[in-house]
């Protein structure tokens, strides 16, 4: 949905915004903060601020773009306090592997860490573009959020895949477990999405 608006924010329209975009905002915030609770807090904060300043807000882009940019700013404010890497490490050490057999959980954790390592090799812009694309945004939307051209976004995506291909070579793949996880993920390919 792309509403170019001079939307008047009242209680009803605000509720609509909340219902439609809160989840997306949380997910985007998670891509920065790597902490589900913190992501929820950040997104809530964004909505709070919008409500507080509703009288003075003029939105001349799409509302989706406006919200995501606000989210981004909020996350940067928050992550200034806690070093991103710190949070990441914490996240992985304390990560919950719910409802899995301990052995599975261990393998899963290792794999996730490995996956993460792989993405970490990329520069932050590429990471962010990938996250946004995975969240289902179009190149155009990403370009607007990050203030770059669509071509630039495309370039970043392609070079990200290329450098991932190079990086993957360098990583040692001594763990058998990771292959188990990969193959189980590949099984997902048989899910209806791919039929």
């Amino acid at each position: 949905m792309d509403v170019n608006i001079n939307l008047e924010i009242n209680k009803d329209s605000f509720k609509q915004l909340y219902d439609e975009y809160f989840t997306l905002c949380c997910r985007y915030a998670y891509s920065f903060l790597n902490d589900y609770e913190a992501a929820r807090d950040a997104a809530s904060e964004v909505f709070c601020e919008i409500w507080k300043h509703r009288a003075n807000i003029k939105i001349n882009t799409s509302i989706k773009n406006y919200l995501l940019v606000a989210c981004r700013r909020q996350c940067q404010k928050q992550s200034k306090k806690t070093d991103r890497q710190d949070v990441l490490n914490q996240h992985f050490s304390g990560q919950q592997t719910a409802s899995l057999h301990p052995h599975e959980a261990l393998a899963n954790k290792e794999a996730t860490e490995k996956f993460h390592q792989l993405l970490q090799q990329l520069d932050p812009v590429k990471q962010e573009i990938i996250d946004l694309r995975l969240l289902g945004l179009t190149y155009k939307e990403i370009a607007e959020i990050l203030h770059m051209t669509v071509r630039k976004v495309e370039y970043h995506m392609n070079s990200a895949i290329k450098s991932l291909q190079e990086e993957a070579l360098n990583l040692k793949n001594s763990h058998q477990e990771i292959y188990l996880v990969i193959s189980s993920l590949l099984l997902l390919m048989h899910s209806p999405v791919f039929q």
Partner: protein
């Protein structure tokens, strides 16, 4: 057109661009594009690893945050009382405001100085709920507590103390924020719980087994008999000198906070007991010889009647409320 492009893919096995790959991951691919991705995946294990990485990342990103519109609404209400003015205040107003703020600073300074000279005295506040009310409480350090029925909590309302101590009788869910250094502790009759920054549920009612269950983080539980650490999803039941630890799903533990009733393979008797505990009312099952039910489901608590209507429909029973007792009549 199709044929031509198709053959060109066969000639060059890896003409994959990121666009197609991400379309595939997001499930927006055409049949033609699927063939390209499949060929790319077949080409090398490296590609498969990249694909798996991206899918795993997508999975991690696509969590389902709990929408808490009620909380947002409360915030909106609180805010409309101190709405930010759109128009600039007039000049006279401005000077008055400046003068007032100076006065304010002076007064605060005076009292702050006075405070500094005094030793820190905790000022304890007691908050309680009766048999038909629940409350959400915000502690001075930013932590939040969800109080259940018939619960009493005592805490130090002065901020800046080095210790964060809470006394509890009844049941409450705690969401504790991390602050540098200061540990948070909950004391009940028979248990001392120490945490840094976590969320957990405590149940301590007189004459019943005491329970602690952890949603996030790690806590330390001290009973007269023993001391132990609990991790997420673990629940400790303390009965005198007996301590049992078992595992629960995270939803069940946070149910009190999220205001959700959760049923897992619940029989009619279990449903009755859960409703009774939740609303602190007596529940009786009428009639006998009904078919055994195993009901699984989650219901947000938006009032007793709504819940009973919904649940009655799903689990198959009629109900009647008379003198604070709920009578349940299974259908069939």
């Amino acid at each position: 057109m199709f044929l031509r492009s198709h053959t060109s893919y066969i000639l060059k096995p890896l003409p994959l661009n990121a666009n197609i790959l991400f379309k595939h991951i997001n499930g927006e691919c055409s049949a033609e594009e699927k063939i390209i991705v499949a060929a790319w995946l077949d080409a090398s294990p490296r590609n498969r690893e990249i694909y798996a990485t991206l899918r795993a990342r997508k999975q991690a990103l696509e969590f389902k945050p709990v929408h808490d519109w009620e909380k947002m609404e409360r915030m909106m209400q609180a805010d409309s009382e101190i709405a930010i003015p759109v128009k600039q205040p007039s000049r006279w107003y401005k000077y008055a405001a400046i003068a007032a703020s100076f006065l304010g600073i002076a007064a605060t300074g005076y009292f702050a100085l006075k405070e500094l000279n005094k030793p820190h005295l905790p000022s304890f506040v007691t908050v309680f709920t009766d048999h038909s009310s629940k409350k959400t409480l915000h502690l001075p350090d930013g932590s939040t507590v969800w109080l259940q029925y018939n619960t009493v909590i005592r805490y130090d309302s002065s901020s800046g103390q080095s210790e964060r101590k809470v006394f509890l009788e009844g049941e409450a869910f705690f969401d504790v924020v991390k602050t540098s250094g200061a540990a948070f502790s909950v004391h009940t009759n028979g248990m001392d719980i120490r945490v840094l920054g976590t969320s957990f549920n405590v149940k301590s009612r007189p004459g019943q087994t005491q329970e602690v269950s952890v949603a996030t983080g790690k806590i330390q539980v001290q009973t007269p008999a023993t001391q132990m650490h609990l991790l997420p999803q673990q629940r400790a039941k303390v009965n005198g000198n007996q301590v049992n630890v078992d595992t629960l799903s995270i939803e069940v533990i946070t149910a009190k906070r999220d205001n959700k009733l959760i049923f897992q393979n619940a029989s009619m008797a279990t449903i009755a007991k859960q409703i009774g505990d939740w609303y602190n009312m007596k529940v009786e099952i009428r009639g006998s010889g009904h078919e055994p039910t195993a009901f699984t489901g989650t219901i947000s608590d938006d009032g007793l009647k709504n819940v009973l209507d919904g649940l009655g429909y799903l689990a198959g029973f009629n109900y009647e409320i008379k003198d604070s007792t709920i009578y349940i009549q299974p259908k069939h």
